[in-house]
Each structure stands twice: as C-alpha cells, then as structure tokens.
Symmetry: C2
Subunit: 410 residues, 2 copies
C-alpha cells in the first residue's frame, strides 16, 4: 500500500471530538483522497524514518467516506491548537490545494468539535444583542453604504449618512475600500459622522448605527476601533478576508464591546471557482466562530453572482444551533434596491440587514428619498403587504420602483 492510501479507512467511525471536513475532489481516487488526508495532518509524499507507528495511528487523518465526487476526512483534535484559526486553516485548508495529485479540490464543509469551537469567543452580541441594541425587533434592519465608494470629504460623508438616517435607514456603513485616505481621514470622518448620527437620532427618536471601516494593519485597526469606542460608536466594520484571520481574531479578542460588522471583500477569489477553493459557508462558519456579529453572505438577487441555494447555506452556517454560540446576523448587500425587498424577505426572513448603496443614493430624488423608499418597502413586506400597496402611500417608493423598473406584482 502506498504512503497516501494508508490514510483511507472507510471503516473509521468519527468521534464527536474529531474535526470533520467535507471536500469535493477530483480525481476521487483512494490515492488523491489519501494525499489530502496525509498532507493536512502528519503525512508527506514519502515514508519517513522519523514517524513512529504509534504516533501515526493516533494522529493520522482518516478518509472515512468517498462517493466518487466528495470525501469526508476526520481529524484528531490534538492536531489543532485551540483558539488559533490560522493554524487550523493551515492544516485543513493549507498545502492540499496545491498538490499535483488533485485536479479539483474544494473545502465544502467543516464541523468543528465543541472543544475547538468553544476555544474562540464567538459573537459578543449576535442577532439578539443587535436587536436589543437597535430596538428593531420585527423587521429586517435597513442599511446603506455611503456612496460614492470613495471621494467624499468627511463632511460630505457625514451629510450623506445623515440624509440616509433621517430618511429611514437604521444603519450607515463605510465602503469596503474606504479606510483613511487623503480626501477623507478616519478620525475626521468618524467625528463628523458620529455627530450626524446623534443629530439624526434626536430628530427621529430612533437608534441609528454607524459602521466605520477600521480595516488596517492589526495595531492600526485596534487603534481605530478604540477611537470609535472613545466616541461611543457602537459598531466597527472590518474587511475580514483582506485583513485576515489573525487580525480579525485579535480585533474580536480585544473585547472592545463594539459590534463587529464583517465585510467579505476578496471572498470570491477563494469561494467562486469551480475547481479550487473554500466554500463561502465554511468562511461563514469560521468567522462566526472567531466572533463577528454581522457578515455579508450574498443576496440571491442583485449584482453579486451567488444564487439562492448558496446564500441559504451561508445563512445556515451563521444561524444554526452551534454549541450555544451566538448567531451572526446575515447581511444582504450588493446591487440591491427597494424592488428586491419581497424576494429578499422570501430568502432571508426578518433576521437580516438589507443594505442598499446605489439603491438608496441612486434614487432620482436623492439619498433621503431613497432611504424613505427602502424603509417603506421593508416595513410593508414585513407586515405582509405588497409593494404596490406601499407604493400607493409613499411617492418615494413609487418613484424608486419606476426608476429601477420593478415589476410590483409579487
């Protein structure tokens, strides 16, 4: 038997303590399957003089399921360092993607055993905490992204945010590529925008949320998050994939008491390929485990590519029963406008942030009217009304639906 085939044991029955991965694999042979299990645990391409049979038997990963297209691999928990997501990913999602033996390899699913899952803090707030903080109980949260993505001054940025809030948005966020540029420095922006937030709260009597993008080198990111805390901002936003797993863990474990909103820019470079990569639902599980409170999961409609089924897998990873770890709130964002709210509600139900950027600031009458339209659409649909009915009452919604040519018979 070859060195790789050794790692296939179809009679193995994984224990609850094992970490279990499901991979899509081609060619789905014993050799390729064994290569994946070997390289992701303790083996390599040749027999070793330094590996005892005892260690091998104890720590080798085992392919225990193969169906011609997918395999499942069980990993002994001692292979992993608790509370170290980079190490865990270097094992189960590391070298294996580069091996000659595989022509297609995607990590489709991961089941973390309790002990490993609970070595991370999980979300500090989660869906319940966010509902309590915002006071919004019975409908999706309504968000916008300040647009254009880049180019506004801090004062212009705050003004656009203010218009969105008073129009009816609960949440305003920075764009994923806005951090601290010459035209809009981080500190000036959060000063101006948090001031606008307080003004909007006073005028509307509602809780308003600002999500400033703190993405940077880790220490810079922590400094920015602390500046937000110092100014009583409740949220921080981070680009979790370009910052990376170590940085996000550090941000979460600093325990700053801020809600963490996770943007997934770059994810599709990992998740979208048909031949190599990691599914978005695995990334969703990973970031929930690390402890983000909100995460972008696609829309099922709009400008992003994922269909409804993939989006629901992502939502499941954020909201299923998972060792009493809090639920992460799914965020639908990307190419949305008020006309899509009925479809979004069918996919997500009420536990979601519906974020529209262009779909608010592209309203013919401007940002405030766009926010009014989005709020009207969400409230109507949450109460079981059609958009047609709501549009009859709300001219801003009528204009939005006409502008983006939405069929209202849904």
């Amino acid at each position: 038997m070859g060195v790789y085939e050794d790692f296939v044991d179809l009679s193995y029955n994984p224990s609850e303590r094992d970490l279990v991965c499901t991979f899509e694999l081609s060619p789905c042979t014993r050799r390729a399957a064994g290569a994946v299990a070997a390289e992701s645990s303790i083996g390599t391409w040749t027999k070793l003089t330094t590996l005892s049979e005892k260690t091998k038997k104890r720590l080798m990963a085992r392919v225990f399921y193969m169906d011609g297209k997918k395999i499942k691999v069980a990993y002994h928990p001692e292979l992993f360092e608790e509370n170290n997501m980079p190490q865990i990913l270097s094992s189960i999602a590391g070298n294996i993607f580069g091996m000659k033996e595989v022509k297609k390899l995607r990590l489709l699913d991961v089941r973390f055993p309790r002990r490993i899952a609970k070595s991370f803090p999980g979300p500090a707030f989660g869906i319940k905490g966010i509902r309590k903080l915002t006071g919004v109980k019975h409908r999706p949260l309504i968000g916008t992204i300040v647009k254009p993505k880049l180019g506004l001054s801090p004062e212009e940025h705050a003004r656009v945010a203010y218009e969105a809030w008073v129009g009816g948005c609960d949440i305003v966020k920075d764009d994923e590529n806005l951090s601290s540029q010459k035209f809009n420095s981080f500190l000036k922006r959060i000063e101006a925008t948090l001031k606008a937030k307080r003004k909007a709260e006073k005028e509307t009597g509602e809780v308003k949320i600002y999500m400033p993008n703190v993405t940077a080198e880790t220490k810079g990111m922590l400094r920015r998050a602390k500046e937000v805390k110092k100014r009583a901002g409740e949220y921080v936003m981070v680009d979790v994939l370009t910052a990376g797993f170590a940085g996000v863990q550090t941000l979460r474990e600093e325990e700053l008491g801020r809600v963490i909103h996770a943007h997934r820019a770059m994810h599709a470079a990992l998740t979208r390929s048909r031949d190599f990569g990691i599914s978005m639902s695995v990334l969703a599980r990973v970031f929930r485990t690390i402890g983000v409170d909100q995460l972008h999961v696609g829309t099922g409609v709009g400008k992003m590519a994922e269909g409804r089924d993939k989006v629901l897998e992502n939502v499941h990873a954020l909201t299923d029963e998972y060792y009493n770890i809090k639920k992460t709130l799914p965020v639908a964002s990307g190419g949305l406008h008020p006309g899509m709210v009925p479809d979004l509600f069918k996919i997500f139900g009420k536990d979601v942030v519906i974020q529209a950027g262009g779909g608010v600031h592209g309203h013919p009458k401007g940002t405030r009217a766009g926010a009014v339209a989005l709020r009207a659409a969400v409230e109507a649909v949450a109460q079981g009304e059609t958009l047609t009915w709501a549009a009859a009452r709300t001219p801003e919604l009528r204009e939005a639906l006409a502008h983006w040519k939405t069929r209202t018979k849904k």
Copy 2:
C-alpha cells in the same frame, strides 16, 4: 453609455503615479471591463446622485487596455491608503471577483507606484542580509522541515533538527501546521531546538538557522516572535495567508530584527483556479512589499502543481529591480529530494533555499544521512559537478538517488 462602460478609456495613458493592474477577464467586453474598474474604485451598478463629475473624473479607475482576453486598469494613487495592504486589496482584489458580470476574473499582475510601495518597509534582511547572516555565499541554502509534520515532542523535534544540522542542513523549519499543540508547546520546542542549534553550530563550526512557526492570532504571534528574540533565534516563520495581510504587516512592522520566513499554506485556494483568483506572482509582490525575507514559490518539480514558468514569474516578483526594495529569497519546497537538485539549480540558480522534508527524513538511513545527501548534491551542482560524480564520493547521496530512483545523467 451605461454606468460601467464609462470606466473604459482606451486613450488613457497611465502615469507613473498610477497603480496598474492586469486582469484576465471573461467575457472581455467593455461592460465587464468597466464593471471591474468601477467596483474596484468609486463606481457601482447604478448612477448616483451623490457623485460629482469632478470627483468622478479625478478618482475613477480607467480600463486603458483590452485585448480580448486581458485588460489593464489604472488607479489614481489617492484611492489607496499608504501602508495599508488590506485596504489596497479590498479595492483591487475585493468585490470584483463576485460580480455577476464576470464569468472569469483573475488578477495577474500589479504594479505598485513608488510612493505606495515605499510606504511599506519591505524586507529587513533580503537576500544580501541572509547571505551575510548565514555566511553561505555561493550556493543555495539547504533546508529541511522537521517531519512528521505533527506528533513529535519538543525533545524529539530538537533531536531531528540536530541530526539535520549536523548532517549538513543550514536551515531547519517547523511545519506549517505546527504552532503550539499539546504534544509540542511552542516555548518548550524553541527552548529545546535552539539549544540543539547551538550544539550543532559548535560541532560543525557553521551558522545554523532554526525557523520556528509563530503563526497565531496577531498578539499571540508577536509574543511568540519576542520569545524567539529573547532566546537569540534569528528567524521567525509565519503562514502568511492563513495569518493574513494585517497580521503579517504587524509582525514585520514590529521591527523585531528577525528574518521573516513566509510559508504560503492556502495560497493555491486563491492562485490555482483557472476562473477566479489572484496569481501567485501578485501575492509574491505583495508579501515582498510588506517585507517578508523568504517566501515559498513552488518548485517546478516535486509534489506541488506549478510548472517552471509560473515559478519563474514568482521568482521575478521577489527579485526584480523594485525601487531599491530588498530582494526576497525564493524558497523551493514540497516533495523535493537530492535527485532533483540539478533541475532546481537550472530553474532557480543559486539564490534559493532548497528545502526537503520527506527527501531528508525519508532517507533509508535516517535524517542525518538524508541531510548529508542533500548537502552533497547541492555543493556538487553549485560547483558544476554531476550528481554521478558526487554520489561516487558520498554513499549517503548514492543511497538517496537509488531510493528515490533518480536518473543521474543530467
């Protein structure tokens, strides 16, 4: 003209201050090309009421080249925050991979303008610094990875490392998934292994290098790196993709005076797909810019999939003339054994670390003999000798070549 097509301007002539990206794109239409440029700079899917013509003209990215398969996009430098790699990647390698408009999108190349490149420290040591530190001037550096990947105790680990050093390795590194597990805690391992290193140095009269894997959540990673420094270890090793760009920047910018060895576990989930992702040469450029001193770039032979051409692109990104930023030393690692040294030398020349794990510890006579064989092969080839000649002198090499069935007529 549509909102996306606006971002195509084939008459645009990029300035030296622009950041320029080359993408492989399908469908390579004006609409898809414009969508990439829009989403990665200031645009979105719909016309905005909040975007002034002045801001648009100044900050929009421009597709200035299209050839039916590839496009080039120029970005105004103000779009980016200096010294913030996560932000830069959230722009040029962010949402775009997930857009409906693209059926295939790979970031093939990036040219950072001087000002942005120089806002990062670059490698502290680079090839010259490593040559000086090790005293090895005229041949590839010889390395091994302690094997098995996991399962040895700290004492066993140190023993295997010692055998490799006295056999002739310059460098011994931890495996990418070894960090601090129950069977082998980080502190005990570096204590034991650095002690073994000093013993090996004394006995051989040569400088020996140990590369302990500090990969963890950022603050944990810094603590580990400081423990290495405290014990006078010269190197730290980090899994740059699973730690992530923010964490690696932080590690580099802590200025601990350690050589940083970068392992690329997980890269192929991003780099290997034919339809979506980022080329390894872009990642190589990014990590050189951030400032790692050594980086795994494939082998062209061995157990990893990349061919010679791709490997040479990676080497070029690490070693070309780049605003006087130091050169990162390429590391060839993955399925190597002494019989492959002539091929490796043809691909890499002398500026490379040749790392063999299984190809050292899998030697029939064990680790020390494996290291003797690898050293003999490298010294022979660096002096223009054939492996046949060298094997005649060195029984360990003869046995290695026979064991791995190497044709020696090269």
